[in-house]
Amino acid sequence: MYWLTYRQHRVQFVVTVAFLVVLGAVLLASASATAGADEEFMSLYPYLSSMPVLPIAVGVFWGAPLLAAEYERGTSRLAWTQSISRGRWLASKLGALGLLVTLAGLGFGLMIQAWLNAFPAVRTADRFGDMSFFAMTGVAPGAWWLFGFMLGTAAGAVIRKTLPAIAVTIAVFVLVLIGIFTNRGGYAEPVVVPADTAAGVPAGMILRPATLDGGTRAAYEMQPSDRYWRFQWTEAGILLTGTLLLTAGTVVAVRRRL
């Protein structure tokens, strides 16, 4: 089965690895550049800050065609009437590909983290305060990539046509992304920190301006930086729950009808 999985999905695998290698080279060159840190950081920022949507590509190219293409071509009839049961066929495909996708997402996150570490003096190079970097460092990218993959797979299993499955994958992913990005600040009760003009804006995830001492003192409602890992695991937990539900949906859809 591993050989079959590799043979059927090697193009996606090779393209993903190539992408990570190219990205790694670009980040390495940027991190070791001698030019001004601010300029170097800002020159890549517009591109990197859009990369939380990368798992869409995983969903579209790894996930959606996985089952939809089999149904559409009628090859599912051949694949599922061999000596290997449908359940095992699905388990080994989802297991092997899901593992690879998760590892790729975590590797991506490590590279982004290493790049951020190269800019200790740049204020905006913040893995907690910046929406995008939070989703691209720590354990979150692994969960996001796996979620994208399973979302595509489930859409393909239910819809059974590649193009509509791709469209649904993109639409649902964008909605989930917006939902999580707007609600992330509520993973824990925020703290109110006085806005001390001498110290500048405090480090962490700033949610909104607030006031202290009965409205006389300006303050920020925020999440302090030391909650980073707690928030990371919360986000990963939400996404992995969604992934589990999607996996269950896929299994049910595949078992139900040929």
Partner: protein
Amino acid sequence: MLWLTWRQHRVQLLLTAGLLLALATGLYLNALGALDAANGQFSTLCRLGAIGCRQVDEGLQAWYDASYPYLASLPVLSVLLGVFWGAPLLSREFERGTYRLAWTQSVSRSSWLLGKLGPLALAAAVSGLAFGLMIDAWLRVFPGISGTFKETQFFSVVGVASVAWWLFAFVLGAAVGVMLKKVIPAIAVTALVFFTMYAALFMLRPHYAEPVYQELDGSNPALINALVLDSGRVAPDGHRYSLNYYPEECRQGKGTDTCFAAHGYRNFVEYQPADRFWRFQWTEAGILFAVTAVLGGVTMAGTVRRR
């Protein structure tokens, strides 16, 4: 042919129309909310040096900042046209083998293709135009805060550039589809080429014309809507420095400005004036139309030439 085109592509066409309608509704409601949020409390935002200050309504600015993350990705929305309208147009015919049926009817291959490409390209252009008009109307609610010229990411979603991008995305998908003859790889390559093109024009955009260089003591009000390429201080020897560079003779602190003036430093700015907006729009559209024409030729050649 028109009937066939409609039948085969109505899902995409209706979905696109629905998406545009939903977007228009969302933008309209957002604009109403913004007008409510405008609280008439003006604050002055200043950028150092030649660019100077502008007055902004605080409520409007806060509303704009909250809406911005959702709208910043709109310039790449047209990639969906390439992925769902363009890429499957011919590659799906090849993949399923239905081209053998389609191309052995009484309609010749070239008129079959023109009957498909023509109406769909027209629909793509009209969609791009409608999209551009609604974004433009939304941005007008935020005078002085946002701009279609000084903020180059909004430049490509308004005016004739929006039409050109949507048309380009569609024809790109069709051309890639005819070359690769498989749906999924065609989608992947279409998205990749589109994003590469987007990044290239995004970087090229500020250089469509020779920028204006100006040295001045105070600030220039014409700069508020202009596209600023570079600004800072220029030393007597002509070397440019950023505003937060402080040489030996002038340390940061009180009287720095007088010190800089005494040592012959002057504020400078390099910019594209706001009245170049339409010239830049037509430049960008021209580049995209030219590429689109080439891709259309590739699509035609690929369809007519094969067995």
